[in-house]
Symmetry: D2
Subunit: 366 residues, 4 copies
């Protein structure tokens, strides 16, 4: 327990930290946003991530805040992040708020020299991404975007397989992302969320970029609201199904399709067609359990939730973040990755609006 | 054997035929084009299709002609279809020539009151399709297009499942079609073949229309020549990979991706996302054989060929054609289906050329 | 049609036949027993098997006889095989009667110099098998037992894989055989049928012997009547579930489990554990069709019937039989194979009765 | 951190503990045996199990002891368990030593009123199991045997499905257990280990009993040493492959097959055939990753290790143990379960030795 106790000493600012943090130190983390994904991160930090300590929780909703605080035994609880910054010693922040709040919180954190783990999508606009990247660069803190698939064993194996070159270049990559539960609240407002292409399919867009290792150049997309008819009056541009076709700078072709709610489960599958073979990632079935009934139906269970499918990946990305802080090593997902996905998201929505293919403008990250 | 011998009597023309052909009769068929798919049809007719007799073969290449003729014991062999029409009694023609010859042969057959089974794609241009449909209507013969997937047990089960309504409406449909062997010869010339979107992915386009039960309205497509670099000089617009995104009249969204050659096998898979579930058709693995080696690789065999995957469907579509002639019953795949796919093919190529989404013009079928 | 007509000439007896039958001849076949499997064979011969002609049908039940005769256009129909032998020219017989009739019919056929295709199991007793083998040897006709799995593409691939030696020797082999429909009639009487270990699992026992390439030495088995309680009073030793554990002469260990009726489908799966890997054959699912419903159930269809699962194998074994007659080439499944399985069946039932492991007595085949 | 600090107070003995331990307490655990499975448990306790504290490690090998101690930051390290008992305050022991040491350590722990988590198999002999159960009963501590499959989500779903009765009674249950790495050292000596039927397939035997919910009555087994020829001279009765066929008291039939080393991976699959359907658990493939190469090989990865396959189950069983201590709730796996499996193991080895089926003697647990 000495380790933890010694961590109670204030850590130096990140620049100093790089020199001083040794193997025996602990990163003290404040989680901002204790909803669904926030709870995953908070639990991981509190219970599973080595050399991390969950020192505080922030959530605008006191009920959520106290519930999670009780569960994890975290007594430092704040309804405003600024209050946490004022009165608390910590090293890093994990931001899992609604997307439209990312910029302000992340910039504030950077100004206070807190390392930043920021859930996807990075922000709503390119300008917001640039603000965050600029603030991060100024303060010298680390910034990791929550593309946890890059830490999933199957995805990593796919990346490694592609990098060996044995299958030749990628020709077509397709990524399907569907969530079981419906988007609600602020996510219905495309001005706040950019829609499911951002909230759900950011992961798919990042998968395309990461596995191919090339930048996206253009997009043509279609979208429809098939299932959330009740949302149509208030949010006429909201869509619950989207198909986006991307062109890469090296001519690789990509397809992302997204649906939320899919109801039947959480469905994340990728197919990578190469010159000399093809890779498949994921399955609609969650495990090897099959029940065959008397009428000849062979019934398995669809994957229910990203919580189970990417459980290990969520933990691994947080361990990577903490290790990177402690050893001052490079991050595998950066603010540039976050920015590039937001640029693609915005171009996709522009294509949906205009009915035309749209070039993806790529800004300088800072 | 009496049945066959009695079939040697000249059959009356199709209009008369409808009244006279009873259950005991046999349809005498001339197969035009004895290459890959032609051989499948010729064998099926000669050996497996009830109430059908393979009475003659036509192929411009005498070597192919004689080889297949010998194999199937067909002594009536012609290098020109017109000669066959002149000197031979038969009821129906199965046309499996290069696509750019479809119109002339089909129209000639219709004029001579021969029922027509025409391989996909129906023709190269919309005008050609209309010529065929007009000739067929004038003469009153039957015309079936070779979309054999509509006769495959899995595809039929999908169609039936969708028609029950249990899954709700289709929201997104995706169809992948890849062939193991490379396109060659006249197929490299888009003016003669319309490329792989026609020669390979006609099936996928038809699958979209058929399963959704709605017409395609627009298309945006990308294409690249990744693997057939040697063909590029002579055929700069040839492509071996294509991704086409369709919009349906009822807002359903569709994606077709095609690759030829895929080398690893024949890969035909379809995914139909509905409001209350999803259907998957096909598998990259051909059967339940798995070999696990000492290093932990679990190795199955990819589907090798459409010949095996759709073997039963090829037979079933021909039996349907013959039954339809004998009993004068409606066909499940018509000249309208052929036309609609050619229209979509042409719009897809126009989108590839222009880089823009293209509306699919739908002509009156006759 | 000349081929068929020329086949109407009486063929010489088998010894002479071997010298005279050339590539252009046809084997004239009489099918004895027109029930389930008999119908499969009759249809294959009538429609699909090259160089075979279905010249006559025998069945004790006139209704079945006439129904199948009508379907296949076979006018020569007999309720007794002896009548067929007296008044008919033919070359070979396919015997698909109840097992307890195999010996008499096969011996009669051999005496009349007819080649014999005999459905599994070969006979009820070892003595009957020996009678058949002796009669066959005396007359010089060919005898093939209906182990069609040896002609299935997956099973052949397994055999070939094992023969390469890449996986090392077989250590454990397990074969599961379950039929959807219940055994009835004479099959309930173990004295006539030897029970499901013979009627259903003969295939599994043959699979063990064939894939391992070694003889079975001993067996220990258990059996229960779990589902056919109504049959228990009349047939107290009838069982609908059996597990039999075999020892091979080279110490390989084998397990067969059989169930009939399984209701949910026809389930034939084999697992072959070798020193350097493992092979799996078969799947409970019949194809790549999966329906995922809104509640997250991923539903496929179990294999329904051996008719579909082994359709190609049934055809291939008959083509092999016909080719072997025409070209006087060796058969891949012989009377010795039939005998060895019957010996294993009898030992299995003895083990069930006695509750003890039983050595499998292996007789000289003739 | 207060929770942990407060846990430093000596806990009262187990009988008193039941009254006093509230929700805020922590169970202090000493892990005895820090090898493969011991390390898993030690890591889980140190890092993941709520309300558990890893206070000490014991291992006869100082190198292992110090390595694991360093990794987990445990400074209290002992090469003898008796020393730990003398000088250390703790509440529970996790015993992961070689099997032949289980009895002495478990009895010593019980005498000192330590709750006991005991890895499978419970012990080498029935008498040893009875000694342990008697000691546990005398002292009133809790005893859990490490059958972690009972905590695996798929296995639990199978159990629940069977308990609904929808599939009817179990008729045949088969469980396959194969380990990738070879047994070595004391495991080669059947007098110390009872062989792989105990060390590997204890899990499968427990699975049979648990899923069927009935006791095993008799066993017939075969075993061979196919791969570990070098061990044969010193350990002539050692086997690396075993097939055991069980009869249940209610006539259900069971098959367990075990192989170690299997080399290709860790293979744990179960099939439960019921009157109205069948359940399958497990898969040879570890996930949805498939690579299809240019030659048409569809390659997945076999499950490598029980460490990954049952990772969550190992954690869940330990959490269950800790919860059961803290809340004094009944355990899901008891000393009776451990005893019953050892009885079946011993009967299996007796059957292998004698070549005869053997009745399984079931002793009173204490």
């Amino acid at each position: 327990m000495e380790q933890v106790l010694s961590a109670q000493k204030p850590l130096p600012g990140p620049r100093a930290l790089r020199k001083q943090l040794g193997d025996r130190e602990v990163v003290r983390i404040c989680v901002v946003g204790a909803g669904r994904a926030g709870l995953i991160h908070a639990r991981n930090i509190a219970k599973y991530v080595r050399r991390a300590e969950l020192v505080a929780l922030c959530d605008a909703d006191p009920t959520t805040l106290n519930k999670v605080g009780e569960e994890l035994g975290v007594s430092k609880r704040f309804t405003q992040f600024s209050t946490a910054l004022d009165g608390l010693e910590f090293d890093a922040v994990v931001i899992v708020t609604p997307t439209f709040l990312h910029r302000d919180i992340a910039c504030m954190a950077a100004q206070h020299e807190k390392h930043i783990f920021l859930e996807k999508p990075m922000a709503v606009t390119v300008a917001e991404c640039q603000d965050i990247n600029a603030a991060v660069q100024r303060s010298g803190v680390k910034l990791q975007i929550g593309f946890m698939r890059r830490f999933d064993a199957s995805f990593v194996r796919a990346k490694e397989t592609l990098e060996t070159g044995e299958l030749g270049r990628v020709m077509i990559i397709k990524s399907t992302g569907r969530g079981p539960g419906g988007p609600g609240g602020w996510m219905l407002d495309l001005r706040k969320s950019n829609g499911i292409i951002a909230e759900v399919n950011s992961h798919d867009i990042d998968t395309l970029r990461w596995l191919v290792g090339q930048e996206l150049e253009c997009v043509y997309a279609q979208a429809q609201n098939f299932k959330c008819k009740e949302a149509q009056r208030a949010w006429p541009d909201f869509y619950d199904n989207v198909v986006a076709q991307f062109g890469f700078e090296d001519s690789t072709m990509g397809v992302v399709d997204g649906t939320c709610p899919a109801h039947y489960g959480y469905d994340a599958r990728v197919e990578v067609l190469c010159e000399r073979g093809v890779l498949f990632l994921g399955s609609v079935k969650q495990d090897g359990f099959t029940k065959v009934t008397v009428d000849g139906q062979a019934i398995g269970q669809a994957v229910k939730s990203w919580r189970t499918l990417f459980k290990d990946a969520y933990l691994a990305e947080m361990e990577h973040f903490v290790d990177s802080i402690l050893h001052d090593t490079p991050l595998r997902v950066t603010g540039l990755d976050g920015l590039r996905v937001v640029e693609a998201v915005i171009a996709t929505n522009e294509s949906i609006r205009s009915g035309r293919p749209v070039n993806i403008t790529k800004e300088n990250p800072i």
